[in-house]
Amino acid sequence: MPAQSNSRPSSRHITTSPSDSGDSKTVLHADDVARVLDRIAHQILEKTRGGADVVLLGIPTRGAYLADRLAARIRAFGSVEVGLGMLDVTLHRDDLRTQGVRPLGKTVEPVGGIDGKLVILVDDVLFSGRTVRAALDALNDLGRPRSVQLAVLVDRGHRELPIRADYVGKNLPTAREEQVKVSLSEIDDEDSVYIATKSEPRSESGQPE
């Protein structure tokens, strides 16, 4: 009964290695991903004056892993323990009717909640902005943060809403029909970001947003 549809990738998903694919182009390799995350962690520490009151909320699936990694880096670089949680936005999406039902991801409220905190939403790809809009709605149900910022690994453009990221790993100009795919070693074979021009049965974090 539930959708086995064009859903978000599950952790059981088998990754097609980018090198196997004829029409794909790798834009970030594993070491690039690591450097980019290092930079974002530093930027967060700098911009939030040492990470006080910061709560990272990763958007499942891959945004949650990125939030984990950022929290670890912030701990290492700034010796500060930021709040960490997960925010599934599926139930707040405005495209379920057209894109189909998908299994729900997890929502984990950070210890200490989000009231009065500086919440940084973490996702892998920023595309239309609809996921972030849904996340802002979902956030309302959890509490009232002091302010909300956004960190993404890749910004591929084509916004449909007035939303911008505060921390961007890489700006990636793309054509609309292209797909930006993020692999993370936690659930995929390796860390990488690549552009595919045709649909593959795999993670496509830039879509359907």
């Binding site: 539930p2 139930l91 149900d141």
Partner: protein
């Protein structure tokens, strides 16, 4: 994706797990201060109840409302046959109002399936006669999973009036799908006809079953409500004899492993099929079943309704 949930047999193992996993998220939302989600905004869910059931109706109503669906309750009790209106006319009349889902309870087996032949919207079986009650089985599995983890390879015993129980039928189907072993226990008079063909073991002896002598160690026992009017049908002699033979009384509780769970779909006949010691003890998950009911029904409504745009109802089929 099928747009109806009529039988626990409609669900594959993967589909059932997905519904239970999503229910897990819904369950977490229930503890929040703000429980309202926008997911089914603009959708209309009608609880079409041909038979009274305050708990199931309220559970579906809360589930729908927390997902922002417009929920309307229609009590059609005594409409249909006695008033001369056919089930078809009742169903078409309600569906013609632009409904996205019908949640149907009916006293007659198969009535809900029959309705799907006439309407275009999603239909959820909220209990049909002595046939099935799939969302009850899902919530039982959900509660049990929360308590004892994955149900694969676990042993669940279901005790009581199995012949007339829609809960038992749905549970046998779903638990089998989820990989659990099921043993049905009842006197021969309350065993369903043809039960030998079901995917479960059977026994007339509750003591032996609870002691693990029939189908291995017991992980959970589900006590079904026994209707007192069954006595006049000759199904069993007296309440006293039933309670002694098949009730989960304090003596029998000792036969049950310490970590086994006790379920009851409610409402309970304390002192008949279940003692207070069993219903209120540490091993009981009866109250959690009720709480799980809302989460599971939210999950079911989400999976049935959130995805697909519904075609307009067939107005032309309804005569003025």
């Amino acid at each position: 994706m099928s747009r109806n949930l009529l039988s626990a047999a409609d669900l594959s193992a993967a589909e059932a797990q997905t519904i239970l996993d999503s229910a897990e998220q819904m369950y977490a939302i229930q503890s929040r201060q703000v429980k309202k989600l926008p997911t089914l905004r603009g959708r209309t869910v009608v609880n079409l109840f041909f038979e009274d059931s305050t708990r199931t109706r309220s559970s579906f109503e809360i589930a729908g409302k927390w997902l922002s669906a417009d929920v309307i309750n229609i009590s059609a009790k005594g409409s249909s046959v006695s008033k001369g209106e056919s089930l078809r006319d009742t169903a078409l009349t309600v569906a013609a109002m632009g409904v996205d889902a019908l949640v149907v309870r009916h006293a007659t087996s198969g009535a809900v399936q029959r309705i799907t032949e006439w309407v275009d919207c999603s239909v959820v079986n909220a209990g049909d006669g002595t046939h099935e009650h799939p969302t009850q089985a899902l919530l039982d599995a959900f509660s049990l999973r929360r308590r004892i983890g994955d149900l694969a390879g676990r042993h669940v015993v279901i005790v009581g009036d199995l012949t007339h129980s829609r809960v038992a039928r749905s549970n046998v189907l779903l638990l089998h799908t989820l990989g659990a072993d099921v043993t049905l226990v009842a006197p021969p008079t309350l065993m369903p006809a043809g039960v030998a063909s079901w995917n479960c073991a059977t026994s007339w002896d509750l003591d032996a079953t609870l002691s693990g002598e029939v189908n291995g160690a017991v992980d959970a026992v589900m006590m079904l409500r026994v209707q007192r009017e069954r006595m006049s049908g000759g199904y069993f002699p007296t309440e006293r004899e039933y309670a002694i033979s098949y009730g989960l009384n304090p003596r029998r509780l000792k036969l049950l492993p310490k970590d086994a769970s006790i379920l009851h779909p409610g409402p309970m006949n304390r002192g008949l099929e279940i003692s207070s010691a069993a219903a209120d003890g540490d091993r009981s998950i009866v109250l959690d079943q009720v709480k799980s009911g809302v989460a599971v029904r939210m999950s079911v409504l989400y999976h049935l309704l959130a995805g697909v745009d519904q075609p307009a109802p067939a107005l032309e089929e309804v005569s003025p």
